[in-house]
């Protein structure tokens, strides 16, 4: 599978990483190289094999659906690049 420049541009956008137009050919080339390497997996017969969901045979822990934590908005906001009046602040969102 080789990735063309349009696909590289699309992947970068999906990943929300800005990539300059002149850097796209190199990125497409590198991603293609990695995907070619991954294609070895096609040699393996995986018929009837379950995809692994948990490496140790354990059920994820469950608990009562109740509030067990919280009440410290100030600490949550402390590392925010822009926080105002108890909220995270972001540029205006217009959809």
């Amino acid at each position: 599978m080789s990735i063309d420049i349009d696909t590289a541009r699309k992947v970068a956008h999906l990943a929300r990483i800005r990539v300059a137009e002149e850097d796209l050919p190199k990125l497409a080339d590198q991603l293609s190289g990695i995907l070619t390497f991954m294609e070895q997996l096609n040699e393996v017969d995986v018929t009837g094999i379950e995809p692994m969901t948990s490496v140790t045979p354990m059920r994820l822990k469950r608990r009562e659906d109740v509030v067990t934590d919280g009440g410290y908005a100030e600490q949550i906001l402390k590392n925010a690049p822009d926080a105002r009046e108890g909220f995270f602040a972001v540029p205006k969102v217009v959809e």
Partner: protein, 492 residues
């Protein structure tokens, strides 16, 4: 002997006898750190915090309440959140981030009385094998045998360099695809990656959650046993933390491995393996045999597919985990131009904050999870992962107690040696280590000798799930038989 050169076990015994104080050991470490800026092992030094903790530890020891780690000065990989101390996984995207909370691992260590010397350099978000991919700059291996500066390996390269150069008594590391064992091998130190679920991941900045596991990096196998016991716990904050009590690992170090069956996996004898590495591997097997173990040839037929499976699964999980770095809640936010909306904020912030390798892995992960490719790549890789785990299960079911293998294809590389390599060529470094992350198994790297260049070579032992105690005992036998006592000559 300078006090910073002590092992954990040596320091513990001397502290309990009152022959030395934690403040004295801590001061020796701080002096060693200040004299080792050329190695760039420490990204953030915390000497005031260290001395405060050391004083408290001394008081505790005097009061007769001294767990094994009490008063032991440690370095902490930058991937662990430590309250109030910069914790940014060597990434610019977390510039300025000071956690308001503490990781479970570091909390366990502070509860046991350990002392924090500072945060150690690493590959950004633990993605790398050389510690060159870091916002703090490359860490330098204290092992220097010619004009070249060498890499300590990665991603826990700062931890490995700090332990090898006696800039701490031991350090924490994390291992997603070999990031504890490979740097331990490159620096003549010991490192264990525990069974997945043994050590809490809470407060450890995530790379690939189904593979990440923290462990100790130490100067001896005994120290690894002592420190692992302190790091490990059953943690309600980590939903994958196993409900299995933590045993007394040190008490399991009997040095007796008679009758144990050690498997030598034939698929690890890869094309192009150097004669030198093959010789170390054979020697290691002979040492275990001389100690009374039975050496058996085994097959792990899907070994070849571990690396491509890893490089699908790990980036897929990373793309999901690292979606949280969006310039909203913490860390870096790009300067925006007039008219920029929220998408521009995300895209500019992430382009500025993430380094090139992290960006590549996020994008590969995004691709393999995207509509139309999910089954072809991600699901297929997860099926292959099932088969890789099954290989190990079949070996253990046939009576194998542990598996002996190399840790990496070469000894430490020069800094910049992989600068022109393709990403895939870089990934080949992890060929011997990723398998057991995929299978969730414990593995320990032990130094066994110096190669013809004079650089350390390590071997790894791979154990059964939850069998860290037995595994460390086998590692102890290898350590004793190899008698590796070399230290890097101080040039820094």
């Amino acid at each position: 002997m300078s006090l910073n050169k002590l092992t954990i076990a040596g320091a513990r015994d001397a502290l309990r006898k009152g022959e030395v104080t934690s403040v004295e050991i801590t001061e020796a470490c701080i002096a060693a750190i200040d004299g080792a800026d050329a190695l760039n092992a420490y990204a953030h030094k915390t000497p005031e915090l260290a001395l405060e903790q050391a004083k408290a530890a001394d008081a505790r020891i005097r009061a007769g309440d001294a767990p094994a780690m009490c008063g032991i000065p440690l370095g902490v990989k930058d991937v662990f959140c430590v309250k109030g101390v910069p914790s940014q996984a060597a990434s610019n995207i977390l510039a300025g981030f000071r956690p308001e909370y503490e990781s479970t691992v570091t909390q366990n260590l502070w509860n046991a009385g350990a002392v924090m010397l500072g945060k150690l350099g690493m590959d950004e978000f633990a993605m790398g094998s050389t510690t060159e991919s870091s916002c703090y700059g490359a860490v330098v291996n204290p092992w220097k045998v010619d004009d070249a500066l060498r890499s300590p390996g990665g991603s826990s390269g700062g931890s490995a360099a700090a332990v090898a150069a006696d800039l701490c008594l031991a350090a924490t590391g994390t291992d997603t695809g070999g990031s504890i064992r490979q740097p331990a091998g490159f620096t003549g130190t010991v490192g264990i990656k525990p069974t997945y679920g043994r050590v809490s991941r809470w407060g450890v900045i995530a790379y690939a959650s189904s593979l990440d596991q923290a462990g100790p990096m130490t100067k001896s196998v005994r120290d690894a046993a002592i420190m692992l016991e302190a790091m490990a716990s059953v943690d309600p904050k980590d939903s994958t933390s196993a409900e299995i009590p933590v045993p007394d690992y040190e008490a399991m170090l009997t040095g007796d491995i008679r009758g144990k069956k050690i498997g030598i996996p034939r698929e690890y004898r890869v094309d192009g393996m150097s004669d030198e590495l093959a010789k170390f591997w054979d020697e290691g097997a002979r040492m275990l045999k001389d100690a009374g173990a039975e050496i058996v040839d085994i097959s792990l037929p899907h070994t070849k597919y571990a690396l491509p499976a890893y490089y699908v699964i790990a980036p897929a999980e990373a793309s999901s985990n690292l979606a949280r770095y969006d310039g909203v809640r913490y860390g870096h936010r790009a300067h925006l131009s007039a008219g920029d909306g929220i998408v521009e904020m995300y895209e500019k912030t992430r382009a500025e904050g993430f380094g090139p390798e992290v960006q590549r892995r996020i994008m590969i992960g995004t691709y393999v999870l995207s509509a139309g490719y999910y089954d072809a790549y991600y699901n297929r890789a997860r099926k292959v992962r099932t088969l890789i785990k099954r290989d190990f299960e079949q070996a253990f079911a046939a009576g194998v107690d542990a598996i002996l293998a190399p840790t990496s294809p070469t000894s430490a590389l020069a800094l910049g040696q992989l600068a022109d390599a393709s990403p895939v060529e870089m990934y080949l470094n992890d060929v011997f280590t990723v398998t057991l992350n995929l299978a969730g198994l414990p593995g320990v790297a032990v130094p066994v000798g110096l190669d013809s260049k004079g650089l350390p070579m390590g071997l790894q032992l791979i154990g059964r799930p939850w069998g860290e105690g037995e595994l460390l005992n086998e590692a102890l036998v290898l350590e004793r038989a190899a008698g590796f006592t070399h230290k890097p000559a101080q040039w820094w």
